[in-house]
Amino acid sequence: MEVALMIPCYIDVFYPQVGIATLELLERLGIDVAYPKEQTCCGQPMANSGCYEEARATEEHCARVFGAFEYVVTPSGSCTHHIRNKFTAGADSQERENLTRNTYDLVEFLHDVLNVREFPWAKFEHKVAFHTSCSAIRGLNMASMTERVHDTVFSKPKALLNGVPGVQLVEFDRVDECCGFGGTFSATEEAVAAKMGYDKLAFMQKAAPDYIVSSDMSCLMHLQGCARRQEQDIPFLHIAEILNGV
């Protein structure tokens, strides 16, 4: 199995430990992981802002770097969503087609491709409030959404966390309401974004978790920024860090 690791730009710079945990976890599961060092970004920040012309070269570069791999795995639902469902700024090519088809969020790759459910090496005896990103829920169908009241309730990331000895998932109100990050929205509408973040934190904190965890670090970057401003010192972790063993 030929797997390439895609490290989103903000994880590269702000959260390298998430990249390391993802790499080590995949290797622990016997995967030979390649890290193409020419990689930069998937182009989402520009395309999401309507700037398709400005996303073109970046998307084309991304397709060139990753287009030949059997699987491309990234610890980010939002980058996966962009590549799978929105990757149209660059020219049509075989590489682009391959990348669009072969890119998986880490959770999907573990849950659907490798079919892993047990993480015995990763004991984590703590209460966890898990935030599922909107890209993961409504873009990638990684979990059921509350709007679709007749659907069977499921969550791929929670199914994985339940395989970690000691993890106790806590329930909180408005479980799949957006946290307010929203890419460039977090800057253009900073006041609304921050209030959404504060509210999300308040709902979670009511359940008294020890950690706030997500499979999308961009949501956590925003929530952590909100929490620190409010002098809440609750720790934040990416799901890869727990699955790999903190």
Partner: protein, 464 residues
Amino acid sequence: MSPDNQAKNAEAFLADTVHEERLDKLLWMMRMRRDAAAKQVPEWEQLRTLASQIKEHTLSNLSQYLIEFEAKATANGVTVHWARDAHEHNQIVYDLLAEREVPTLIKSKSMLTEECELRPFLETRNIRVIETDLGERIQQLDDQPPGHIVGPSIHKTTKDVARLFAKNYGSDANNEDPAYLAGVMRDNTRPEILNAYAGMTGGNFVVAETGAIIVATNEGNADLAGNTPPLHIISVGIEKLVPNMDSLAVFIRLLARSATGEAITQYTSNFRGPRKGAAMHVVLVDNGRSARLGMQSFWHSLKCIRCAACMNTCPVYRRSGGLSYGSTYMGPIGIIMMPTFDIRKFRELPFASTLNGSCTNVCPVKIDIHEQIYGWREVMEKNGQIQTVKKQAMKVADKVLSDPELYRIATASVSTALRILPHFAIYNRLNAWGKHRDVPEAASETFHEWYKNHRLKGNEALGL
């Protein structure tokens, strides 16, 4: 409220925590009620699909259904008028009133008449207009447009209403009891209704098969406005057509459940023809709808049945308030409708969204709202409606992010990374980020450096 400043207007709304938190809680409760109501209908998702298909079919054959409606309505004794735009609509209504020397028009709620700005048109021509929907009347007295398409004054507290009524009606400013306030409203509008010569309503659905107009309300004021005075004028958009009574049933099952979680509104009235000795006029209004129907990507919003479920679920709307959008239609559906009226004026609206997709999944007619918002962003860019500073930032980002060498230089050290990262993470608005949130700390080494230092050997590590 300027649409260019949705973010600023929202910030001002947020500064008043009492109103913001109340609005958020109230509308979230509506969303919860909607969920509970949908849960009780096992075929809910099939209904949504069916409703979406009926709308698509009707809009695809709109001219035929409009002609069928006109023939049936005319046979029922109704006079049908056609208005190309807002001005024609207003002029038709004015002429109907002026011919009869009507001094006062009583009105039930209609977003279309807000869209056409009918009230100021009539008032400057010396015709008084009295809104009879409680929320709409509150907004009229406060000289504000509706903040929500179902509950126009939902952003106001009972305290606000008590003060407003005291000022306008001389009632007790300290009595915030909703029953008391509703009584004040009734005492002041009921005589107007009884004495009026003309009443106006909107229409939720227009049935081609029978020539009937369906009006759904909870207050019964539309029935008073339609049934009391000798002249009944109905203003309705041409997209409100449904083929027949069977298809109407699908929408009636979806409308109130999606809006407030009720199975059906208190009153669902079928206006089919004039009462004996009275006249009934229907004004069918285009005002940009035909043009929108011709837009390959953006005709979907014509399916909208105005339930406001998308507003109730929208986390941005709930924290911004409807007035922040500076537009007739607000929230997610407003974002995709308003640019069809004026692309320049409403260029900022598509950015007032996190693209979370909740709206799309509550919409009873399955409009792909968040995908349309995403699409509008690209259109704004292509039409030169994106600010130069933002575009420049995106150009820089593309240059850096499509070139691994430049990217490594940019992210090589904490200080340069912090300078360049906002260009692609939050596009040079680190100060905006930092207003209510702490800025993330860059790590001592990037993942890329870590990989080079720990995983690569020999020449590879040296980059040779």
